[in-house]
Subunit: 359 residues, 2 copies
């Protein structure tokens, strides 16, 4: 039996989306059970033989600063959901809530694995090769040093090698040109560091890639800071949505285009499925001693259910332990440079506070 | 007669693309003439009654550092093309060459207008509203301060108000969430600054927007640093290309899908046209005392011709002077904060060097 803990309050839509998704997930996974975490009033109407309610008295708002989630709302549904993983009661936690808070709480409660300074969200993006490109980070870290990007490269390689059985997946550094002289100082240093690490043979660094390479599938993994990764991901979703909507409008324009739509239906339906980013929802937060997955905040029932499916697959395949072993194997690689000692950005300043004042 | 100067050597394909594009442009614009700048050997085969050759002895490589373009290759085709604008011989220069070099050379030769610290490339991106979203910067500046982003907002507003006759176009700040607490420190400060500037009534600041909002058309203008803007732009192109290619493959799968393709042809062809980013090629470099447009480095003949068309339209409509007047009008707005005194990143350190050692 696989047990997942679900932050039912998170996301733009909260229980109106998460609860129906949980029901569908339970109905299609007879060997799974769910710990539904949320306010008692929000969960009261739900009942399922394999669902157990875990009550929380607070909710982290989508616009709550990290400090509030960490210091003030100590009984939030998000925190309680992660706590289930820490306590070994659940194999993975899933939340569609506030990304910054999820990152900080997960890091504080679960701790990072040896050698990893910062966890990162790894998204799977459909590419033109009919496969997916793993992009990290897509939102956990808004400012990254070259050392962090090296860690992302190691974690991404570990994830892809476990998921796809490819021992030496290629890693691209997201930049604004393929040439080595491109980018800001931070990116140039990152490229140098990745190139150096690549010489050990444990990392397969391809070089710089550009935004379109994510969708071409030029490399299996693309590393970037969470700000850039998030923008790239959402820009891609934006274009896919625009095109699918445009096709709908164009095909319903008149009787001839409507006939065209009927004849072209199989192709259009294949396309819609292929570029439906909801199918790829659910990004694991890599680098922690416990499994946490982030759903898109705006996910609908179908999308949130996919995040649950991914959490289930990850738990069932023991992704956490396999990735940990891979990262441990690459420890000498990461040690090419010392980990950053200082904690430079506000997210980490915040997440460090409770460590000094434990509750 | 409108005269444009063309860096015929720039881009991934050089004269094999630029020269055929120039011919097509000349044939469709009887009131235009071109100054074709390049190596004598590369231009020798071309002849047209309204084309004049301007020879240069060097070419800026796509992977040349800015320093090389600025200090070593003083007779490059790119530099000579911009010089034609400075000398008042051409109304605008167009290049598909090295972005960093084009930015630095343009800034050095043409100088910025009063109140503008850094020029920015403004791209027009097709959106779901059937209109276009103006995004800046898309590659000139890889590190930006909040003050720079405010200047981009002012320049973008000036451009859109001139092009679309809308006096108060809305401006979004590209971020990883709509909530005010999102983003890194730099972005939070930028949002504050834009909000303050907006109170004067001269700037219509909408708030934070996300990557998908560029394609939704949530705001008429989106401001961001050139690294993020470039990645968003290319990610969008990547998805559009992937979908169009996917449709081609799917529709040629068997006899039934081929019939579907014939029936659906008008719709597919409308879609292809709509998302063909080559049609939007040619980003003006705003904030200078002369007009320079950047073509995508990988542009084909059709794409490069669009950049020429845009340069022609801009020159014909006196875009430069109109935008300058708008920026001058907003001078008190930019003066909300003093311009950055220091020159923090390598691009500007490089472009400043020749000022001390003029040729």
């Amino acid at each position: 039996m696989i047990t997942l803990s679900i932050d039912c309050m998170g996301g733009d839509h909260g229980p109106t989306v998460t609860l129906p998704a949980c029901r569908q997930f339970l109905d299609s996974h007879p060997d799974a059970q769910l710990l539904l975490v949320g306010l008692p009033a929000s969960l009261s109407a739900f009942a399922h033989p394999r669902a157990k309610m875990v009550f929380a008295s607070e909710v982290v708002g989508m616009d709550d600063p990290v400090e509030v989630a960490m210091r003030k709302k100590k009984d939030s549904s998000m925190r309680v959901a992660i706590q289930q993983v820490k306590d070994g009661v659940a194999a993975a936690a899933v939340s569609a809530g506030n990304t910054g808070a999820l990152m900080a709480l997960s890091r504080y409660l679960l701790k990072t694995v040896d050698g990893i300074d910062r966890p990162a969200f790894a998204a799977s993006i459909p590419n033109a090769k009919g496969d997916s490109t793993t992009v990290l980070d897509v939102g956990a870290n808004v400012d990254c040093t070259p050392e962090h990007l090296l860690q992302f490269a190691v974690m991404g390689s570990a994830l892809v090698s476990v998921l796809k059985g490819n021992d030496n997946p290629s890693v691209g550094l997201l930049n604004i040109g393929e040439e080595v002289i491109k980018g800001n100082e931070n990116i140039k240093k990152s490229a140098q560091l990745l190139r150096t690490a690549s010489l050990t043979g444990d990392l397969n660094f391809f070089g710089n890639v550009e935004g379109n390479d994510i969708f071409k599938g030029t490399t299996e993994i693309v590393v970037c800071d969470g700000f850039v990764g998030n923008v790239a991901l959402k820009a891609g979703e934006g274009v896919a949505t625009m095109i699918v909507d445009l096709l709908k409008v164009e095909f319903s324009r008149n009787i001839f285009t409507k006939i065209g739509a009927i004849v072209a239906y199989p192709v259009l339906s294949a396309l819609k499925k292929r570029v439906d980013y909801r199918r790829y929802n659910g990004a694991p937060l890599l680098g922690l001693r416990g499994l946490v997955l982030k759903s898109h905040g705006s996910a609908d029932t179908f999308g949130f259910e996919q995040a649950l499916n991914r959490a289930y697959d990850a738990a069932r395949n023991d992704l956490l332990e396999k990735v940990r072993v891979r990262i441990a194997h690459a420890a000498p690689l990461i040690a090419v440079v010392p980990l950053t000692q200082e904690i430079p950005d506000s997210v980490f300043a915040s997440s460090a506070i409770p460590a000094a004042t434990p509750n």
